[in-house]
């Protein structure tokens, strides 16, 4: 398997070795066992949490089947987003076109659910057979009186990142169509926060306590009516920059709304996010409220974190995630609980991300782009890693190697955002890293003592 690593030497870097020039933003080699996904996947995960909209996947059944309720993006109300809607294109439609079927499916769905908006996702095949999804959407929109938004997410038209962009473009068509009357001058939109395990609720609560009005969350626990008036907010606060910076930039251009980038992962970053928002509004009262909130929260969680830190001190972690932005927060958060990061990588990071990552990492840390299971397994073993942080495809690899795992992707069940999220994270890491199950292979067997020997 040494050839696997040979081929990828430009996408692997060990801090301390000379000449940092990581090749990234490249297409995966044809035939590579990549952990990456497609354009459709990117669009689907970004828009999925909008709970009172229809999400109709236009294409053969697979794309709808694999994205049926796989993201723990919670809704406080409607659960419509958790159903799977598809046009289930068949051979005849592939030959003669799927526009008629799309039209009928949309009408059937809208008459049934009376949603506030509908998103229509184009899959690979729609791009090939040339269905005019745009005009079908326009027609249905006119007939039914709701926004029907095409999402240009044909799988082959780029990477997952292009899918984020297509989703942002669809959102842009919704933003600006609602009434902004009554929106407070101290108001924000939260971008790139998907309410996994209820994280948006934690963050919204902080802002509420600070006295900042949250106009909309894009897209966690999202509602169409909130998104339509998002242009009334004074500031866009962007998390998960990979997915939503595009939207923030467009909103800045069109509506003059400035944006800041934040992360709500880890104590340091959460505090900074809240302070940055307070500073933007340059209001001493707001600043004071924020300070009280941050101090109160830290006072609560700090002692708990210290306990975990003592137990976890000196353990080693490997991180392999989708977007690079998460990496920086994870590095800091792990550091806070005494864990050293020895491998960091992402599926889709760009040159700027990796340069920053390189600066943030300790000597000897391995940095990888678009990695594969063989390579990950090799480094996890070589670097004596105790914890792998990744997504669904990485989990069983960690377990096979006898290493703890923490899901920092769609399948996480525990809120990791905010101050309380940091405690949850520490607890989850503790539970897996310190689990006695990793010692079982070594201990059982030694315990057998034969009499008379």
């Amino acid at each position: 398997m040494s050839s696997i690593l040979e081929q990828r030497k430009n996408q692997v870097y060990e801090k301390g070795s000379t000449g940092f020039d990581l090749a990234c933003e490249q297409k995966s080699l044809a035939g590579s066992v990549s952990q990456r996904a497609c354009v459709f996947c990117g669009s689907r995960v970004v828009l999925y949490p909008i709970a009172d909209a229809l999400h109709l996947v236009h294409g053969p059944i697979g794309c709808a089947a694999y994205t049926w309720d796989i993201r723990g993006a919670l809704s406080s109300g409607p659960q419509l987003h958790r159903l799977s809607f598809s046009t289930d294109l068949q051979e005849m439609e592939v030959i003669y076109g799927g526009e008629q079927k799309l039209y009928r499916a949309l009408v059937e769905l809208i008459d049934w659910h009376h949603p506030n908006a509908a998103f229509v996702y184009s899959t690979c095949i729609v791009g090939i057979i040339g269905d005019d999804v745009e005009s079908v959407c326009k027609r249905v929109s006119a007939e039914k009186g709701i926004p029907v938004l095409p999402v240009h997410s044909e799988g082959f038209k780029g990477t997952k990142k292009d899918g984020y962009k297509a989703a942002c473009d669809a959102l842009m068509r919704l933003i600006g169509t609602g009434d902004t009357a009554g929106i407070s001058p101290v108001s924000i939109n939260i971008l790139g926060e998907f309410n996994l395990a209820g994280e948006s609720w934690i963050i919204k609560d902080y802002y509420r306590r600070m006295g900042v009005d949250v106009v909309s969350v894009l897209t966690g626990d999202g509602r169409v009516s909130d998104i339509r008036r998002a242009h009334g907010a004074r500031l866009n606060v962007v998390q998960c920059s990979g997915s939503m910076t595009h939207l923030a930039k467009q909103m800045q251009e069109r509506y003059g709304i400035p944006f800041i980038r934040v992360s709500y992962f880890g104590i340091e970053d959460t505090a900074k996010a809240l302070y940055d928002v307070a500073d933007f509004f340059a209001d001493p009262v707001l600043r004071e409220k924020t300070q009280d909130l941050v101090r109160g929260e830290i006072k609560q969680v700090y002692p708990q974190l210290q306990t975990y830190r003592q137990a976890l001190s000196g353990k080693r972690a490997a991180i392999y995630v989708g977007g690079a932005f998460k990496l920086f927060s994870l590095l800091k958060a792990l550091d806070m609980i005494g864990i050293r990061t020895v491998l960091a990588g992402s599926q889709t990071g760009n040159a700027e991300d990796y340069a920053r990552l390189q600066a943030a990492c300790a000597e000897g840390t391995i940095i990888v782009d678009d990695s594969n299971p063989v390579e990950l397994a090799k480094f996890v073993q070589e670097k004596s890693v105790n914890l792998l942080i990744g997504g669904v495809k990485e989990r069983p690899i960690a377990y096979k190697l006898g290493v703890g795992f923490c899901d920092h992707n769609h399948e996480r069940k525990i809120a990791l955002a905010g101050f309380v999220g940091m405690v949850n994270f520490a607890k989850e890491v503790y539970a897996t890293v310190m689990s006695p199950v990793w010692n079982l292979p070594k201990t059982v067997g030694k315990q057998v003592r034969h009499e008379n020997t």
Binding site: M1, S3, I4, Q7, K27, L29, A30, G31, S32, V33, S34, Q35, R36, A37, C38, F40, G59, P60, I61, G62, C63, A64, A65, W68, L80, R82, S84, S86, T87, D88, L89, Q90, E91, V94, Q100, K101, R104, E108, L109, W112, T123, C124, I125, G127, I128, G155, F156, K157, G158, P373, V374, V392, K393, P396, I397, Y399, K400, L401, G402, P441
Partner: protein
């Protein structure tokens, strides 16, 4: 009430599928390919397809699942994917060093007209396939059939490439276990071994997708049908194809191509279908049924008779894949249960007749329908028990009906990897699970005065 939107009244939909009861062909092809030793499945399409299939299989098996992809871009979609596939074949053999690459197509590559037979032929001509290594292929457009037909097509692809005709027959038979769990494939091998029969089971995902924890990561685990075994299938005396839809096409091709006669059987689930499987094994090989299997049979029969009063008249709704549903319906019918609704997302008109032949006409059997429809059937005629995959849990919860997880995918429980549904012992465990579900419900709902200690 997650499915609060489900109306009781059934309105036939002309264009819309809600909550599918199937998925697309390529994932079946990928799963089948994993049943060859040292094989890397390859998805000829966009990167997303491959990522989704790997994720889905990983969620179902809790195992790493490896597969390559042609990583289609806009260029490939305009000019054809030949260059991508040729490059992929070369890269995979140099980098990942499998013995076999199993290429399946996707809706994208099919629609742009890629001919993978021609492309793999070209790869051969250009020397991109090293000596002793193989590329097999299956055409699996997502807009035809379902994951089950995708599986069947890849198994057929194995026969196309590996099985050679020969007048010299070997003293062995083939068993094609179908789109079933690694545990079921292992059970097929155990039964033939118990009977002293030399059998090639293919594909065989046991010890590929239920591997032990060793502290090592193996890209190619120990299990899987080997190349010599696959090559020998053309010299076998007979083929038993379990499951008409998943295994039939490969068995028929073996017959046509290599003159290996075949018998198409139901999946050996439950007493009757296991009897038929073992009796057929006995007839085609002349082997006798050993005491060990007779004992297992007797024990299954014993539990059936001991508990028959708990099964009688219980209404059951089943959703899943055709081969499984046919065999399960037979088993439930033999237990005197009342099979009310049987539904598959996989298209194929024959299915409805096959179910009705077992149950009689008083049944709601449907092909090419979705889980919304299944839910509506249950709303209109409630049942005591649901058999289905993980997605049936929404219905089970909303309607407060016990669910016994069967079929694919199962994302929220373990067991299917390790405990077979096949054979007498599989039947016994299945009965245990059904009884537990029914009896737990009875215990939960019983008024104090009739809450029973002994059941």
């Amino acid at each position: 009430m997650l499915l609060r939107h489900t109306p009781k009244e059934i309105v036939e939909r002309s264009a819309l599928t809600v909550n599918p009861a199937k998925t697309c062909q390529p994932i079946g092809a990928m799963y089948a390919a994993l049943g060859i030793h040292k094989c890397l499945p390859h998805s000829h399409g966009s990167q997303g397809c491959c990522a989704y299939h790997r994720s889905a299989l990983t969620r179902h098996y809790k195992e790493p699942v490896m597969a390559g992809t042609s990583s289609f871009t806009e260029g490939a979609s305009v000019f054809g994917g030949q260059a991508n596939l040729l490059e992929a074949i070369q890269n995979i053999f140099t980098i990942y060093q499998p013995d076999v690459i199993a290429v399946h197509t996707t809706c994208l590559s099919e629609t742009i007209g890629d001919d993978i037979s021609q492309i793999t032929g070209k790869a051969q001509e250009e020397g991109k396939i090293p000596a002793g290594k193989y590329v097999i292929r299956a055409s699996t457009p997502s807009y035809v059939g379902s994951h089950v037909t995708g599986f069947a097509n890849m198994v057929k692809g194995m026969v196309e490439v590996f099985s050679g005709a020969s007048d010299e027959k070997e003293d062995q038979i083939n068993v094609i276990p179908g789109f079933v769990e690694p545990s079921d494939m292992a059970e097929v091998k155990r039964i033939t071994r118990e009977m002293g029969i030399q059998a090639v089971a293919f594909p065989d995902t046991s010890e590929v997708l239920n591997t032990p924890q060793t502290g090592r990561y193996e890209m190619y685990p120990k299990g899987g049908t080997t190349i010599p075994e696959l090559k020998s299938t053309g010299r076998s005396r007979h083929t038993l194809a379990l499951g008409q839809l998943a295994s039939g096409p490969a068995a028929k091709l073996l017959d046509a191509k290599c003159k290996v006669p075949c018998t198409l059987l139901n999946l050996p689930i439950g007493l009757r279908n296991t009897d038929i499987f073992i009796e057929t094994l006995r007839q085609v090989t002349g082997a006798s049924v050993p005491e060990a299997l007779r004992l297992e049979r007797g024990q299954l029969l014993d539990v059936i008779t001991d508990m028959h009063q708990y099964f009688y008249g219980k209404k059951v709704a089943l959703a899943g894949d055709p081969d499984h549903l046919v065999a399960l319906t037979q088993f439930l019918k033999d237990l005197d249960m009342d099979v009310r609704h049987v539904l598959t997302g996989t298209p194929g008109k024959k299915f409805v007749n096959r179910i009705a032949e077992i149950t009689g006409p008083n049944v709601n059997a449907y092909e090419a329908k979705d889980m919304l429809y299944f839910h509506q059937l249950i709303k209109n005629e409630p049942v005591d028990l649901i058999l289905g995959n993980t997605y049936a849990k929404y219905i089970a919860r909303d309607e407060d009906i016990p669910l016994v997880r069967t079929g694919f995918p199962i994302y929220d429980r373990i067991g299917h990897q390790y405990f077979p549904l096949f054979g007498y012992q599989g039947g016994l465990r299945f009965l245990e699970r059904i009884l537990n579900a029914l009896m737990d419900r009875q215990d939960r709902d019983a008024p104090e005065e009739t809450f029973e200690l002994v059941m």
